[in-house]
């Protein structure tokens, strides 16, 4: 069956998918808003437990990775294949740094017994429980998206290399990039709302 390529349609589809993702997190932000409103003091105190330094590093890393994805689109469109691959590689490296940081961040919390369902956590004040639950749930879901995004970008990188994504046909790269920016976009809100409310 002969299929006409429709880049505009593909992008529209991707944007709609992004809307669903935004609203998926939107549900969580609503819970956050309600709980923060109810327990604002305890949220402030609990946030001291988070490592704002790691949070900042991860913010910078994600912003950088977003920029490089965007640049790789420029590169591919200009026909600079090597650069295109390289930019995505940098993005993936950033994702790696983010994950390593997350590993240490979460690892530390787990080691002191601070995780949902732990005895210690259930014994805390209500506001604390909810803060940490939200923290784990939101950053957890975000990390899942980051991992999914990394897998997508890896595929895209290979396809740039073998040339099936090229100057004339790169909507896949563009859509993959959109997804990656979404991951960044969510972090832009998570970071101040979780780490910076002390």
């Amino acid at each position: 069956m002969e299929m006409n390529r429709d880049d505009e349609g593909a992008k529209l589809g991707m944007w709609i998918f992004i809307f669903t993702e935004i609203l998926l997190f939107g549900g969580l932000f609503l819970v956050y808003a309600v709980m923060r409103n109810r327990y604002s003091d305890e949220f402030h105190q609990a946030a001291h437990q988070l490592n704002a330094f790691i949070g900042t590093v991860n913010t910078v890393v994600l912003l950088l990775s977003s920029a490089t994805v965007a640049m790789s689109i420029t590169a591919v469109r200009k026909g600079e294949k090597r650069k295109g691959v390289l930019f995505i590689l940098i993005t993936l490296l950033c994702a790696g740094v983010f994950l390593i940081n997350k590993y240490f961040e979460w690892g530390h919390k787990l080691s002191i017994g601070l995780y949902p369902g732990s005895e210690m956590m259930v014994g805390l004040k209500h506001g604390y429980i909810l803060f940490f639950s939200l923290y784990f749930f939101m950053t957890g879901l975000h990390v899942l998206h980051l991992i999914a995004g990394s897998i997508i970008l890896t595929i895209i990188m290979v396809r740039i290399q073998i040339g099936s994504i090229n100057a004339g046909n790169n909507v896949l790269l563009e859509n993959g990039g959109l997804y990656w920016h979404l991951v960044d976009l969510i972090w832009i809100f998570l970071f101040p709302l979780l780490y910076l409310i002390t």
Binding site: M1, G9, L12, G13, I16, L23, L24, G117, G127
Partner: protein, 530 residues
């Protein structure tokens, strides 16, 4: 390609034979039928579960099984009917089958994604049904999974909830596909205001699917996390708020009502002008009211929560908003009726079902007003008045519209006609049975019969007995209808058996694989009867 165009989509010409040829097909028409077959199976199971409840309720006291079994049955009845039958509903079946035909396209925008949605649908349904057989017994929360009970009960809530999550994902992908299809693949010259009204309603529906479903998705994940990890969002003993669950749930589930009913209104809007041989009255009003319903429908969810203990202000605000959403619905009803006025009406089965729809939907809608109004709702909340109301809307409305659409497009789908007389008889049984089944429940509801109860006081006996009798008359109607349609082949159908004016009637019945030999060019409005 020129060669495949001559083959009907029902013939297998590809690599695979038999059922595999269907399971691997990305043809929107086949996917539509695949949805339909799966849905019919679920629907029949759901109906039988409903009858099982009606039997138990025939007399006060315990008849056949325990109260806990009753709890399990109404829960799975609700889950099956809502998540696997009416939410995919007309959009998945007739949207898939007809929408590309109606807008003059060869397929949807993303055919493979479309097939993937179907598999997700089957997967989700399988997971939801597995809740009956795995774990600690069937869930007993009702299809609404209200916290905190849903996080406390030992029954297998997780499977049901996760199944609903997957089904939601399927629904999102269908919606996404339809929006892009309608934006990108309309035939040349078909502006938005030259598009038939069924695609219009699907367009509005698709936006709700895309924008509301993620909220319930995340909410259901939270319920699972509550059960496994005690995150405490909805658990008051950990500081959470059970009412927050209700908000999140209804932020989706009220708009979901419009996911069900909008496509139903859409097919009725196709059927009425065809059988009245008159152009639709108020085309633009109908088209735009679909969008208005979709939009306003987003902001009325808390009318399900008047008695939950939310703030007084919120109660009257939501009551007010609820009345607003009644306006566009009423516009549609008036326009249907006006379309018929002075038309040359031929009462064929699809039209009969469409009339049935209007009647039942109006009863459902008018009783809905008394539920949307704060003061009266408090009296009848959680009584069988509510059960009657929503069955009038989703069964009398969506269900009858589904039957209408089936009788309307059946000749196009299969290239065969069916027996009109038997279809009319089936309609008679369905209509009478339906009203006998649900109308008494309005009455006993007002008298105080609570919902989701397996036992009742003696004064409700008459109502329940009428209701059960009605249930079985209805069942007979369903059987006659299905036997009539699917038991033996009727005579060959012409391309345009009803004298319809939309594009699907310009191509052979059944349509060829890629629908149109040459894509049509549109020069005028869709319903140009004169």
């Amino acid at each position: 390609m020129a060669e495949t165009i001559t083959h009907s989509y029902l013939e297998n010409t590809g690599r695979y034979k038999g059922i595999l040829a269907w399971l691997t097909s990305t043809d929107h028409k086949r996917i539509g039928l695949m949805y339909m077959y799966a849905m019919m199976v679920f629907f029949i199971v759901g109906v039988l579960l409903g009858e099982l409840m009606r039997l138990e309720l025939f007399r006060p006291g315990q008849q056949f099984y325990s109260a806990q079994t009753y709890n399990g049955i109404f829960t799975i009845h609700g889950i099956i009917m809502i998540f696997t039958v009416v939410i995919p509903g007309l959009a998945a079946v007739f949207g898939n089958f007809c929408m590309p035909l109606l807008i003059g396209a060869r397929d949807v925008a993303f055919p493979r994604l479309n097939l993937f949605s179907w598999y997700l649908y089957i997967l989700g349904a399988a997971i939801a049904l597995s809740s009956q057989f795995l774990g600690n017994g069937p869930p007993d929360t009702g299809w609404t999974f209200y916290a905190p009970y849903s996080i406390q009960t030992h029954t297998n809530v997780v499977a049901a909830v996760f199944g609903a999550f997957v089904l939601g994902f399927s629904s999102i992908l269908t919606g996404l596909n339809f929006i892009v299809t309608i934006h990108r693949l309309r035939a040349a010259g078909m502006t938005f205001f030259r598009m038939p009204l069924f695609p219009w309603s699907l367009y509005a529906t698709a936006w709700i699917q895309v924008l509301a479903t993620p909220i319930v998705g995340i909410t259901l994940l939270m319920v699972i996390a509550e059960r496994w990890l005690r995150i405490g969002f909805f658990d008051p003993s950990l500081g959470g708020d059970p009412i927050l669950y209700q908000h999140l749930f209804w932020i989706y589930s009220h708009p979901a009502v419009y996911i069900m009913i909008l496509p139903a209104m859409g097919v009725i809007t196709e059927i009425i002008p065809t059988f009245a041989q008159r152009r639709v009255f108020g085309y633009k009003a109908i088209a735009l009211s679909s969008l208005a319903i979709a939009l306003v429908g987003y902001f009325v969810w808390a009318h399900h929560m008047y008695t939950s203990g939310m703030s007084i202000t919120a109660r009257w605000v939501f009551s007010l908003l609820t009345f607003l959403v009644a306006v566009p619905s009423a516009i549609k009803v008036f326009n249907w009726v006006t379309t018929m006025y002075k038309g040359s009406i031929s009462v064929k089965p699809p039209f009969l079902f469409a009339l049935g729809f209007i009647f039942l939907f109006m009863i459902g809608g008018l009783t809905g007003l008394s539920l949307g109004s704060l003061a009266t709702d408090i009296h009848v909340h959680d009584t069988s008045y509510v059960v009657a109301h929503f069955h009038y809307i989703i069964f009398g409305g969506v269900g009858f519209a589904f039957f209408a659409a089936l009788h309307y497009w059946y000749p196009k789908m299969y290239g065969r006609m069916y027996n009109f007389r038997r279809a009319n008889i089936a309609f008679g049984f369905l209509f009478v049975g339906f009203n006998l089944l649900y109308f008494p429940q309005f009455v006993i509801g007002i008298m105080g019969m609570p919902r989701r109860y397996f036992d009742y006081l003696p004064q409700f006996t008459l109502g329940h007995q009428l209701s059960t009798i009605g249930g079985f008359i209805l069942l007979i109607g369903i059987i006659i209808m299905l036997v009539n349609l699917f038991s033996k082949k009727g005579v060959k159908a012409p391309d345009n058996p009803w004298g319809g004016k939309t594009l699907e009637w310009t191509i052979p019945s059944p349509p060829p694989v890629e629908n149109f030999d040459e894509l049509p060019v549109i020069t005028g409005e869709p319903y140009y009867f004169e």
